[in-house]
Amino acid sequence: MKPNDVILRSVTRVAAVIILTFSIYLFMNGHHHPGGGFIGGLSTASAIVLLYLSFGIEKVRENIRTDFKKLAAIGVLIAIGTGTASVLFGKPFLTQTFGHVDLPIFGDTELASALIFDTGVALAVIGTAVNIILSISEDR
């Protein structure tokens, strides 16, 4: 994957930032508005794939030194971990809880353990999607 396209690269520089920001917004908002782990994860993955497509694998790899297989595994482990944590509190596996906290700047904020679970989902999705695309494009 070594494209040589100036327009694509310049657009990507801007677009990737926008997509990444939007995907974080989607992810954080998922509990109350459209979004969540799957969508956030997928759009992050698409941003990364876009980077790979326009700048080539080697160059991006120099800057993002993440093993996406491990990222996926960590995601699954986080999801299972939140499930196990509820067992430690004497609740059935994967019981989620939530509460409201007053934070200095954000005001009344809801904190839900489901968000941690969703983080696991997002990481698993990012890891898997990028891993698949990377594996195929590396196969020469």
Partner: protein, 112 residues
Amino acid sequence: METLIVILVGILISIGTYLILSRQFLRIVLGASIVGHAVNLLLITSGGLKTGSAPLLGEKTAGFTDAIPQALILTAIVINFAVTALVLVLCYRAYQNFGTDDMEQLRGSEHE
């Protein structure tokens, strides 16, 4: 509306099945993708269409549309992606190893 979508689903499934039954790998994968879309549409139709608002409790409306098919489809879409990727890679590995993409030539030999 439901009837229209159901007929659309039927047509899509017919086309997808026809592609799945063909000899070439790529057509099979394409067919499976089309069937996937059809099934997703079928699922959302089962919950009733255009009734109530989006399943977001922030909206101030009387009723919400059925959220369960949506949750089902959401997971289906993501899994569908992973499966398509796996099948595609499987196909091209088989092509590299055996030098053909014709299913009839790839058929297994006699069982023991």
